[in-house]
């Protein structure tokens, strides 16, 4: 039984409960860096780390927090983990840190993290919350990596900085500019809803 719930908690956010497709949550801070695969991976790892550990921490404290100030406590916990991400990036990958700029800090206001903490970690045991946070982060990661894949490939003809398409390829520079992010995400949601979601409903 316990193992079953654990599995279900892990699988659901990856598929039919995916935070990005179902609720369009949390794209604010990360969509901006999806014009490069590398940046996207670092950002989403940061989000995953924060989601998992803040869910875990809050779940540990859940019986001691007065419900009136719980929003404030949640924000503090999330901000603490984001500061850790920020400092680690700054210390070990200063180049990457410079490129990401303010977006690392904006992980705090990512609605997925707050959403998981509010909806799941407040009622569940620490281990389960950790798994839930991790899975939500993972579901989020692969969607954004898919967007970044399309944008970088079409926009620059390369992936991870390496040239993939030959010199015959004309870069669609619109893809790495802001409108490209909107279009790719919209098309991705469309495709997913048309195929996977329809099957799930039937």
């Amino acid at each position: 039984m316990a193992k079953n719930t654990l599995r279900k908690t892990f699988i659901e956010p990856l598929g039919k409960n995916n935070p990005v497709f179902v609720q369009i949550l949390g794209i604010c801070s990360t969509l901006a860096v999806t014009n490069k695969l590398q940046n996207t991976l670092v950002m989403t790892l940061g989000v995953m780390f924060t989601t998992a550990l803040s869910s875990f921490t809050l779940s540990l404290l859940r019986n001691h927090i007065p419900s009136r100030i719980r929003m404030m406590v949640e924000t503090m916990i999330i901000a603490t983990f984001v500061i850790i991400v920020d400092i680690v990036l700054k210390a070990f990958y200063p180049e990457m840190w410079k490129q990401l700029g303010p977006y690392v800090g904006l992980i705090i206001t990512n609605c997925i993290i707050m959403g998981r903490v509010e909806a799941f970690a407040l009622q569940n045991k620490p281990m389960l919350s950790l798994v839930d946070g991790l899975a939500s982060g993972l579901g989020y990661t692969y969607v954004l990596l898919a967007i970044a894949f399309v944008r970088e490939l079409l926009g620059t003809g390369s992936l991870w900085g390496f040239r993939i398409l030959g010199s015959w390829w004309t870069n669609w520079s619109i893809m790495i500019m802001p409108p490209g992010g909107f279009f790719v995400l919209a098309i991705l949601i469309w495709v997913i809803r048309e195929t996977i979601m329809k099957e799930a409903k039937a």
């Binding site: 801070s29 700029g101 990512n110 707050m114 802001p178 279009f183 329809k198």
Partner: protein, 197 residues
């Protein structure tokens, strides 16, 4: 560019060429969910202008006179969030106490704003771009106005779209994102005039 013109350039650029929503994707969550109705969009947009124009210079003061002297720059995320949340809460209580009609039209949107990433984003951009007090105020105000324009335009389009025949899978957020993409392209047209670095 002329030094004395800088503040105006930043103000103009933050509304059009560097629109916080359409070029930095900030504030998307509330943008997607609220832009269904023109009336609520007006209220939320006005609240965003107000909060951005006030909290950005406030955060500038806190950063410059509290965090830098004590070498606590790494705490800025937490401090900015607290400043924003506390200010929004105070404003909401003040408005509720003194003006019922204003509360009905503006106040109810204030709690939503604390979680709007654009507000924190503007403060963080302000730090990275090393603005002065005046320019951070103008940048906050301009970004608020830019957000306001974007959400009003989107609400207008979405109201018209109720009569349109959208494929079912594209309905809701997806088609809104497509429209936002076109809007972003239109706003990019301004980018030849001025650039925000």
């Amino acid at each position: 560019m002329n030094e004395s013109m800088m503040p105006f350039a930043i103000f103009f650029a933050s509304i059009f060429t560097g629109n916080i929503l359409l070029t930095n994707y900030l504030g998307m969550c509330s943008f997607l969910s609220v832009s269904k109705e023109l009336k609520t969009s007006l209220g939320l947009g006005a609240a965003v202008i107000f909060v951005m124009a006030t909290t950005t210079p406030m955060n500038w003061l806190v950063y410059e006179y509290l965090l830098i002297p004590f070498g606590l720059e790494y705490l800025r995320f937490i401090v900015f969030i607290i400043v924003i949340a506390a200010f929004v809460q105070l404003t909401e209580m003040t408005i509720e106490r003194y003006s019922e009609p204003l509360y009905q039209s503006l106040g109810i949107f204030l709690p939503l704003i604390t979680v709007n990433c654009a507000i924190l984003g503007v403060s963080l951009f302000m730090v990275i771009r090393e603005y002065t007090f005046l320019t951070s105020f103008l940048f906050g105000l301009g970004s608020g106005i830019g957000w306001f324009i974007a959400i009003i335009a989107m609400a207008g389009i979405r109201q018209k779209m109720k009569n349109a025949n959208v494929p079912p899978a594209l309905e809701g957020p997806a088609i809104t994102l497509v429209i936002a993409g076109f809007m972003a392209m239109a706003f990019m047209g301004f980018s030849g005039m001025i650039a925000l670095s």
